[in-house]
Symmetry: C2
Subunit: 245 residues, 2 copies
Amino acid sequence: MQNERQSIEISLKNSAVFSIGEKAFLDKLIDQSQIHIFPKGHVIFTHEEQAKRFFIIKSGWVKLYRETLDGTQAIIDIINAGQMFGEAAMFSGGVYNCSAEAAEEAMLVSLPLALLKSEIETNGKLALALLQSTAQKREEQSREIEHQFLQNASQRIGCFILRLANQNKPGGIVIHLPYDKMLVAARLGMQPETFSRALAKLREETGIRVKGATVEMDSLEQLSNYACSACSSGFPCKDKATVVC
Amino acid sequence: MQNERQSIEISLKNSAVFSIGEKAFLDKLIDQSQIHIFPKGHVIFTHEEQAKRFFIIKSGWVKLYRETLDGTQAIIDIINAGQMFGEAAMFSGGVYNCSAEAAEEAMLVSLPLALLKSEIETNGKLALALLQSTAQKREEQSREIEHQFLQNASQRIGCFILRLANQNKPGGIVIHLPYDKMLVAARLGMQPETFSRALAKLREETGIRVKGATVEMDSLEQLSNYACSACSSGFPCKDKATVVC
DNA sequence: CGAGGGTTTGAAGTGCATCAAATAGTGTGG
DNA sequence: CCACACTATTTGATGCACTTCAAACCCTCG
């Protein structure tokens, strides 16, 4: 399957960690890779399950979460193309430390954890890339915490929409929410009811237009003025996120 | 100064990342190390400042924080002996990504960032140790977020005290808060007033005795029953924290 | 002793959660 | 193609935890 190999190679090149990989290394990865296609709702792995492989997303969205004692889900992250997950099992005794589920139909590439671990020890470039990507994830997580504290519900939604937007377009901007409003609400740490009300308030305050999963506005500025004023990193925080030292 | 070299070596061996280091490597580190003693309140470095060195704590407490636009501080972490900080500047364009201040008189060892970076590329063991330690920090951060959501103010204080306690002693237990109550409050994401009231409630509910910065109790159990019931990882969560995948 | 923080207590307000119910969408089988 | 079932979303009403503002108290250190 020459096509499949190429497609996997492209996926790896698109991911932060393997983009710097040399041809020989990538070939080795591809030999041991697998492609998976999961429908919406499919559970990819569960918390505490023995971990043999980690994943890179080709397309679609994946929800990372944990179940609390009373059965409710705590959303850890919702990630998409280019992102890697499950690799942290390497550092937690070989078991996954959260559950993963396809939030929308998802195409994934999986690789053996053992391969990654052995490569790190001998490949300094890879280790640095992995550290770099981990540092960045911590930046993002750190920003999330800050937002959780400093922004109210409406501002968090505004911030979320801003980060979905392609900042290059100057004129009217159209954004589609990538998944259920319920899931967005969970992602932002609020109840669906609060989300609904907060979105209505955001609409009033900033003049954005919401219809179903579609959000329209004339410029990002009206939104960033409202949402980013409470944030320590200013607009756009996507690029400026700070990390725990 | 043979004594000073030894003392630095001990500090490095006590830190998570360098504990596995070989003699030759440690010697190289020690040659380029410096010792600092900072009084309470001293600013060690500030956000966005050019970063040349990173630090390891020998003794005392260090507060990591960021300033928001309106001048209030967002506490990122408060760390003590054995912990490393400032090294993340390596991955954020060579500037520190938060400010650091001595929360109590602190003794620190500092090392050049460049040395760490160059070592990682050639020393696979070190890279793995660093990844491991980063993964663990993310675990802790992840737990903090969960606590923030699931526990109320009193439970968070209880959990904080539990983690200060040495679990080995069976009988009566005495704990000293390591720094200002105001700072503890900030650390736990609440106002000083809320902290005061929540601590009073905790006292009533669990029978712990608080006098100034001293906390006494007969057993940890009464506290863990109250504080850890809301937590997904049970007691003691210190060891069982889960990490973002 | 007295000034200045740290800490506690009181009173009122705010934002979000929760419970409840109505409404809008979406997909299914007849 | 429609009616039904089921879920997502919205809206209303109420409660609670924490915040905020204000003032008193208490340490401790010059």
